[in-house]
Subunit: 225 residues, 2 copies
Amino acid sequence: MTSYYFEHQKIFLAVDCIIFGFDDNKLKILIGRRKMNPGYGEWSLYGGFVRNNESVDEAADRTLFELTGMRNVYMRQVGAFGSVDRDPGERVVSIAYYALINVSNYDDKLRQEHEVEWVDIEQMPKMFSDHNDMVLKARRLMKQKIKTQPISFQLLPQLFTLTQLQRLYEAVNGEEVDKRNFRKRIKEMDFIEKTELIDKASSKRGAALYRFNKNAYKEDPNFKL
Amino acid sequence: MTSYYFEHQKIFLAVDCIIFGFDDNKLKILIGRRKMNPGYGEWSLYGGFVRNNESVDEAADRTLFELTGMRNVYMRQVGAFGSVDRDPGERVVSIAYYALINVSNYDDKLRQEHEVEWVDIEQMPKMFSDHNDMVLKARRLMKQKIKTQPISFQLLPQLFTLTQLQRLYEAVNGEEVDKRNFRKRIKEMDFIEKTELIDKASSKRGAALYRFNKNAYKEDPNFKL
DNA sequence: TCAAAAGTGTTAGATTTACACCCATGA
DNA sequence: TCATGGGTGTAAATCTAACACTTTTGA
């Protein structure tokens, strides 16, 4: 089978992060302009190289932390991107990850320092190298995932209204859903709990705030958003 | 964002192949015993290193070709496996791929030369490093995929009976399905065509042979096995 | 003649979809 | 007072799941 190491070539290994946020009823990604060549000035995902003393997952966590100062963020691997010339400078294979963050937990000063911006996923600009492909694949995976895992709550504040949840669901899926049918389904999920609190920000009447109860949810095999 | 190359470390990059086959009504994988250290003698997937002048996908294709002599095989990426010490010898990050092959197209002499064996996925032995995880993830992905893409036909002979197709479906999903309901669904798929031919191998009465018509199938968004 | 696999429809139940109006409130 | 978003139920249509007997033929 595999013959031994020294005959083989080592390769630069990077990670790139597709950082999803939900704001203004839109699904957004956090991207900036490249500050080095090749590709200076082009839109780009935030990334970094994998070090020898850390796992690839750890490299992704570290990279996200550098940018956002956030730890224990929901992250999942998108896959390896390995064309020979995907980086015009050197042979670099990159492992893409998507992260879900709650925009309001993210210090906007830090965002400005790094000169990155929230961009509506529907208006994603042409980016450096294969970064657009990474985003498309990440989005496809996330869309799949949201159907069977309660990941919406990673993108929302702790307390949220059903309309917010619905708008998020619609933004991820790219299509509108019926309000009554949506709420019917939510009502069947015991782990989405209504609180006594009312949000007056989005309407005059006010909307009930809900909360995700992680303990009540335990890998429900019948979960379906 | 990413600072520049030379400050960073290169890493060995490998590919590992989960080769699925369907035989004797069972879903099987092709594995062998490691012929080198570390892990000499342990069960292992077939793998190889990624070269500088080939994409990761190409490395996977090449590796599969070395083992099976087959080209243009259906292969999909499973993901990157990147723990620091997943290979006790050196830091090696591996990209896993699964391949679907038609067992009867595979020259058994070649199989014997490489000393690899078809092992029932339900009886998978403990393998080297994280190879068991790779197989589990590959299987999960494949199971997902088979629901929305006509990939069964990669594992079956060109002509197959509905019972064969059903057994494959059952083996992949790990549960039995109702014969009449299954056939009802198949009948609605115009791209699965009945031929005039009869297979007498598996029954006295004989069963009609079917064929997958790739042209009739064109990314049917309503496809559902 | 009988064992073994092929082939074939119907019905009840569950799920999904479509759809419209009243409510509470701040401006 | 009215514009805005919040909140609620029912019925038709579709999909899914359960279920049993006849056919053919080689041994």
